[in-house]
């Protein structure tokens, strides 16, 4: 009986393609006088398959996650389902698209986007 219910549940939960599930990772963003800094949570993201691209106004972050369990393993409890990350941010005009610094540490991708010269705050000298 329990087994039947479990099977029915599994069938209901199944997604069209159970092999891939891409989620939008949460991000913290702060602004300094010189730059915007994005910190994106991507635990388990595979460095070699991590992509940060800027296309026009779109900053796109993509990463895959290596398989978590061996083929022989029987997963007793699964709360982590995703197999990849993808998120697009829209860049404003004041961002210098040529200078983006990226770091991946403790499962957090940190991007530093410098402001373009004209977008930086200026101090106007009083004559």
């Amino acid at each position: 009986m329990t087994q039947n219910i479990n099977h029915a549940g599994a069938a209901l939960m199944r997604r069209p393609d159970p092999m891939t599930l891409t989620v939008a990772p949460p991000a913290d963003i702060y602004e300094t006088p010189e730059a915007f800094v994005l910190a994106v949570d991507m635990p388990g993201a595979a460095r070699e398959a991590m992509e940060v691209t800027i296309d026009g106004d779109a900053l796109v972050i993509r990463a895959g996650v290596a398989p978590r369990h061996g083929a022989e393993a029987s997963v007793l409890a699964r709360e982590i389902h995703h197999t990849g990350y993808e998120r697009t941010f829209t860049l404003g005009e004041g961002i210098d698209r040529a200078s983006v610094d990226a770091r991946f540490e403790h499962g957090v991708l940190t991007l530093k986007l410098l402001k373009s010269e004209k977008a930086k705050p200026r101090t106007i000298a009083i004559r």
Binding site: M1, T2, Q3, N6, P26, A27, D28, I29, Y30, E31, T32, P33, F36, V37, A39, D41, M42, P43, G44, A45, R47, R68, H69, G70, E72, A73, S74, V75, L76, A77, R78, E79, I80, F104, H106, G107, V108
Partner: protein, 149 residues
């Protein structure tokens, strides 16, 4: 089926009771304290997988931004407990938040282990925001092949 339930309590009812209990307590605290505090306070905390292999059970947890020194792992009476803290993200001087979506704060998750564990050989590693705890089965819990006379 009953025997199987006793052998693998996780299999039939993963964490339903524990998770809903944590959620309820979290909500209660949020109500009393006015909903302030970390996003993890009111949620079930970080997500975990538990997978059993022939000779070991592997517990994986997603802990982005959590440092090794802020994690504590204990095994007692057949229960693995992972607790720790993700510090709130730091804001440099002269900076201001545009948005904050990440979960942080203190958390604690406990897992009933499906078998006796060789406690001297538990291995835990933290890489790229993923905690992996490998719990080898105690000799008596490993599968044995019985020779037929």
């Amino acid at each position: 089926m009953i025997a199987r339930f006793e052998r693998h309590p996780l299999l039939v009812n993963p964490f339903a009771d524990l998770v809903s209990f944590e959620r309820e307590v979290g909500r209660l605290l949020d109500d009393v304290l006015g909903g302030e505090g970390s996003p993890w306070t009111g949620s079930a905390g970080p997500r975990f997988d538990v997978a059993e292999q022939e000779n070991e059970t592997v517990v994986l947890g997603e802990l982005p931004g959590v440092k090794k020194e802020d994690l504590k792992i204990t095994v007692k009476d057949g229960v693995l407990t992972v607790s720790g803290e993700r510090k709130a993200p730091a804001l440099p001087e002269n900076a201001s938040w545009v948005r904050t979506e990440s979960a942080h704060g203190v958390f604690s998750r406990s897992f009933v282990l499906p078998h006796a564990v060789d406690e001297g050989h538990i291995d835990a590693s933290l890489a790229d925001g993923v905690l992996k705890v490998v719990l080898p089965k105690a000799a008596e819990a490993r599968p044995r092949t019985i020779a037929i006379r």
